[in-house]
Amino acid sequence: MREFLKSLRFKILLGVLAVLLGMMIYAAGSGGIDTLPERIFASIVTPVTKFTTTITDGFADFFSVFFNAKNNYEENLLLKEENAKLKQQLADYGTIKTENERFKEILNITELDADIELIDAGVISRDPTDSFYSFNIDRGSAHGVSLRDPVVTADGLVGFISSVGPTYSTVTTLFNPQSNVGALDSVSRETGNVTGTIELAKENLVKMEFLSTETAIQEGNLIVTSGSSGMFPADLVIGEAKEIVTEDSGISLSAYIEPAADITKTKYVYILTSFLGQSSEEEAP
């Protein structure tokens, strides 16, 4: 052992360690924009994980038919019930649509959707150790993705881009305590901040905090983005309020929200690269 500590190899290793520490500090200070060494390694990781994900997803889809037969049957019954309800709702939809269009004409409201530009992306990897379900996607700056761009599915908000490379990006989800989204109750129009906690992440929930003790938010209310920060467009669905609880401090309430998007299992997402009211500042949401 002493031989090793006195050897040239040991000195080389110390030198490498010093270089690595320097590189790590540099990478940490880059604010989410990948450095050159990161890009080199990512150019290896991205195609490899993309390939294995495609293969393993194929296997998983094939075998899930056998393993999930009972669940599928129960889900089928639920869907039939839901379908009957939706048919009823559809009957009312025509009337509401006509009425709504008339109101829009009267109020001259501009459609927000026309301003939204989006890019579709596939999930290429998830780290087993991450408890907030962050994941990597196969789109990066070369495709027009920027830091802090919102990430959504057809069901609702998933999170935001926290790190961007040329052909890949990392998505930090709503479950992460570092994610803060200005939110609004679609019924009472009350505002709050939606963020994650370690305890709620394991139950697939997030919380809308800083609500007054006289909050009118009720279980089942739909929570959407407020769009006030400029980081997310307004009226994106976040999820449904599940429970209203008093914070430990006792001076405010929080609403536990079940995200509408299936963040833990989603395989495809959309990145909103441009939308009405988008902030040009790159602040952490």
Binding site: V16, F41, D127, S131, I198
Partner: protein, 173 residues
């Protein structure tokens, strides 16, 4: 056709590289081997298993490469796992040279220790340091990840041993 010394060395490191890429892909695959949200780790086990048969510099470089791939895949600060795995691999090599016999029990002990160390490293910097409430629950989750990784670590140790016995002229005892 028999290979010369350089040929065997090239094939051995080619296989090491292939295993590294395979393990990287398997570890990152979102749905593979997932039981209740718990997925196994492959990269630390692979790097440590190899360290039992290679010299310090080679083992350190391989550990560093495995760690850096893991960093990119997990979206961590570049070098977060790289530095740790490099040091762990060098330590494993030195232990196998001076203190431990190279057998499956010692390899599994080293694999388990390094996997736990990597998870504690992540736990400290990702959860504990930020003071998140209820973070102790994640220690339990990490325990299951480490436990679940062990059978795969045994398989990787077996594969590495096979490669070494086939392509290395001298095997460490």
């Amino acid at each position: 056709m028999t290979l010369g010394k350089n040929g065997r060395l090239a094939v051995k490191w080619g296989l090491y590289l292939l295993l590294l890429l395979l393990c990287c892909g398997l570890q990152g695959a979102p749905s593979l081997f997932s039981i209740g949200g718990i997925k196994p780790l492959f990269l630390p086990a692979l790097a440590v298993s190899l360290s039992f048969f290679e010299k310090e510099i080679a083992a350190g470089a391989y550990g560093l490469a495995a760690g850096l791939l893991w960093d990119v895949m997990a979206g961590k600060v570049f070098g977060f796992y790289g530095i740790l795995l490099m040091l762990c691999c060098i330590a494993a090599t030195l232990l196998s040279m001076y203190c431990l016999r190279v057998n499956y029990i010692n390899m599994m002990l080293a694999n388990g220790a390094v996997t736990v160390l990597c998870l504690l490293w992540d736990y400290f910097f990702t959860y504990l340091l930020w003071g998140y409430e209820g973070n102790a629950w994640y220690l339990l989750r990490y325990f299951f990840i480490a436990l679940y990784s062990l059978p795969f670590a045994l398989l990787l140790s077996f594969l590495i041993r096979k490669i070494v016995s086939r392509f290395s002229p001298v095997i460490r005892a």
